[in-house]
């Protein structure tokens, strides 16, 4: 610690702030989402998921067996204290994210923070939390460098770009081993921070895995994707991996059909393929496409199925992977606050560092939750799900499959 006085002042200030919070019998958490702007659909869906999470924690839900804190009302170790979340819109702007984080910490005196979606906002908002010494749990922001800056107060529950890339490569290797023809891959990624980091990782990892990989980069929010589809048609890869947002992915599926070109298999990297508008718009053109997701509603009677039904009752649609990862991060944070038995940020930080959740305690299909020194969850992982009929079914890894993988995809035929 270079500046001991500042450090001691931080402790003193946070300790002073912690007292009134305990007295009020609620635990305040600040949540930053993109509620307006281009990413508003994702932010709003995530907010609905967090609201469901609050309900699950604050009321008794004995039907959700095994999910930590769900069966009791409130946080037992804090005398049944309720969780209060202050929802904030960061507008996808790094400066607004910083400003609102500051407000949540200094004015609302939140015990911890949750966010963020945009990696750009995650980078600036976590820096403020770091300076003030308040834990920041990241539900969904995938840029690798968020947890590579030596921060002590940033924790990321979600898998990141390199995890996705490893999963795809592993899956394709397994397919190859079963005798399917998987030699060439084309990655189509959009060129904002999401597409650039995920697309780049996939190209790198798949090349190391011995595949012949090509890449097509395009502008997000295209009005016309025929050039990309024609390029794809010329390359004729065995597998095409799409990394992009909703409008583009819907347009791709339509254009592929218009040009009557179907690769053996299409893998969608979450985002656009997981958007609730995807299946109603182009579901019958996209039969058999694979999608990345750590979320699967599972069979009736399971905890995940019950959660999905509750989400549906609130929003009228199924829970998607992105919102599920937000909700999981929120549950992990609540569990840590409960174990800390306090709203003191330093004790919550310690509890987060000691987090060790098993797969059975999670709603998402991670191998567990355990943070390394950088704050990254080392047990984060993902499934592949496949569009069969009107629903996605989990197909890989086999241990979690709810349906048999169909290969090749059948698309509109």
């Amino acid at each position: 610690m270079k500046r001991p006085i500042a450090f001691i002042a931080t402790i003193a200030v946070t300790a002073a702030l912690a007292v009134p919070v305990i007295a009020s019998d609620t635990v305040k958490i600040g949540a930053l989402y993109p509620l307006t702007g281009n990413s508003a659909p994702a932010g709003q869906a995530a907010k609905a998921a967090i609201e469901l999470g609050i309900e699950i924690l604050n009321a008794a839900h004995p039907e959700l067996k095994g999910l930590p804190l769900a069966e009791s009302a409130g946080l037992p170790n804090l005398g049944g204290a309720k969780i209060e979340v202050i929802h904030v819109d960061h507008q996808g702007d790094p400066s607004v994210g910083q400003q609102q984080t500051l407000r949540l910490i200094t004015q609302e005196h939140v015990a911890a923070l949750l966010g963020v979606y945009h990696s750009s906002v995650a980078l600036t908002a976590t820096a403020v939390a770091e300076r003030y010494g308040v834990p920041f749990v990241i539900g969904d922001s995938v840029a690798a460098n968020i947890t590579q800056r030596g921060f002590k107060w940033t924790f990321r529950v979600t898998p990141i770009a390199t995890d996705f890339a490893a999963a795809y490569t592993q899956f394709l290797k397994e397919m190859k081993a079963t005798g399917k023809k998987v030699d060439s891959i084309t990655v189509l990624n959009e060129n904002t921070d999401y597409g650039t980091s995920v697309g780049g990782s996939i190209v790198e990892v798949a090349k190391k895995g011995g595949f012949d990989v090509q890449q097509i980069v395009y502008n997000a929010k295209s009005t016309d994707v025929s050039a990309q589809v024609l390029q794809l048609k010329e390359k004729k890869p065995d597998v095409a991996i799409f990394v992009g947002y909703t409008a583009d992915e819907i347009l791709y599926m339509k254009t592929l059909r218009d040009f009557d070109y179907m690769p053996t298999m299409i893998i969608g990297d979450d985002a656009g393929f997981s958007d609730p508008s995807f299946i109603p718009a182009v579901g019958d053109l996209a039969q058999g496409v694979l999608d990345r997701s750590a979320w699967a509603a599972g069979a009736p009677g399971s905890v995940t199925f019950a959660i999905n039904e509750m989400y549906k009752a609130r929003t009228g649609r199924d829970l998607d992977d992105t919102s599920g990862r937000w909700m999981q991060a929120f549950l992990v944070l609540a569990d840590a606050i409960n174990r800390a038995g306090s709203t003191d940020p330093a004790r919550i930080q310690k509890a987060l560092q000691e987090t060790d959740l098993k797969p059975a305690q999670l709603m998402m299909g991670y191998r567990g939750v355990k943070f390394d020194a950088s704050g990254q969850n080392i047990l984060a992982s993902t499934y592949l799900i496949q569009l069969q009929g009107k629903e996605y079914e989990a197909v890989w890894p086999e241990a979690h499959a709810t349906a048999k993988l169909q290969w090749p995809m059948t698309g509109w035929k």
């Binding site: 904030v88 790094p94 400066s95 004015q107 750009s120 030596g150 904002t192």
Partner: protein, 328 residues
């Protein structure tokens, strides 16, 4: 504004961080104060070209971006203090201003505006695909201060006074410009380019001077933004909204006036923050309905900017002759 009328304003600005220090939300209000000053700097810089000379640039984001990128670039690649990138950013933006100024100054009115939009978008797209400049992912500053020279402070107060210093310098320069031959020439250009030329004003040369001055200070604003935020990406540094924000603030307060941009920033930035803080969490989009509605109404009922309203109300009531103002 009377001769000493600016004194109370200066005193209020100097005292602001202390005045709010006792408040419940001191840190937040001080931070907002710094953001107001930053917005005022950008808008006042834009005002030199867009206000005095009447050349409506919708592409000033390229200068802002040059200023914001360079400090973080020298850190990202060579671990140098971001501060060292500031003069570099100004130099780059002056070069860009020269390169862009020569061809676009042949254009006037809306053609000039559209050309500046196109050039700025071009720059944004190119930077967004250029790995050395961080591409779409952007550039970061140091996560923690390695020493005072990294200019990373927990409190916003040091930023506030740095920004205030820069704003004072800029307003001083703008005031000198207003009184100098440059200022008269620029106003002549705004009133009518052909007439100005026929009176012997070297129009293109003086427009270029105004652009260079404007670009230099805009890039300084960008640099201050990057130092405070510690991050820049193509949208936050070079997006069209960055340019539009400068225009709106200047126009709101009163383009072509000395204090209009400051007044615009003092109204618009708190308005943005307040609508987002109070209405943003609901996620209904009400933030922008209110924000958009307010600027629309101001344009509808006070098209010359709010400073004009001030002059009408206050100066007229005090029955003192106001500073000679030129119709925009």
């Amino acid at each position: 504004m009377t001769r000493w009328g600016w004194l109370p304003l200066a005193a209020a600005l100097l005292a602001y961080p202390w005045a709010v220090a006792g408040s419940d939300s001191a840190a937040f209000l001080q931070d907002m104060g710094a953001l107001v000053l930053l917005a005022a700097i950008s808008a006042a810089a834009w005002n030199i070209l867009g206000g005095y000379a009447g050349q409506i640039s919708v592409g000033h984001a390229m200068f802002f971006g040059a200023g914001a990128y360079m400090p973080l670039l020298v850190y990202q690649h060579w671990q140098m203090p971001p501060l060292l990138g500031v003069p570099l950013g100004i130099a780059v933006s002056l070069v860009v201003a020269l390169v862009v100024g020569f061809p676009t100054f042949r254009l006037s009115g809306h053609y000039f505006s559209m050309a500046t939009i196109a050039v700025a978008e071009l720059v944004r797209i190119v930077v967004g695909n250029w790995d050395f400049l961080g591409a779409a992912i952007g550039l970061q500053g140091p996560a923690r201060a390695r020493g005072w020279y990294d200019l990373i402070f927990r409190s916003a107060v040091p930023y506030y006074y740095i920004f205030l210093g820069v704003l004072a310098l800029l307003l001083l320069v703008a005031w000198q410009v207003q009184r100098s031959r440059l200022g008269y020439y620029l106003r002549a250009v705004r009133a009518g380019e052909r007439a100005a030329r026929s009176l012997g004003v070297p129009v293109r040369r003086y427009k270029l001077y105004a652009l260079m001055l404007s670009a230099g200070f805009t890039s300084l604003a960008g640099a201050l933004y990057a130092l405070k935020t510690g991050f820049v990406d193509p949208d936050s540094g070079l997006g069209i909204l960055v340019s539009v924000q400068m225009i709106i603030i200047a126009a709101l307060g009163g383009a072509g006036t000395l204090l209009g941009p400051l007044l615009g920033a003092m109204i618009l930035v708190p308005l943005q923050t307040a609508t987002n803080t109070w209405l943003g969490g609901s996620g209904s989009g009400l933030t922008y309905i209110v924000y958009g509605g307010v600027i629309m109404l101001i344009a509808r009922f006070e098209p010359g900017g709010l400073l004009e309203l001030w002059h009408r109300q206050v100066t007229a009531r005090l029955a003192r002759p106001g500073e000679v103002r030129h119709a925009a």
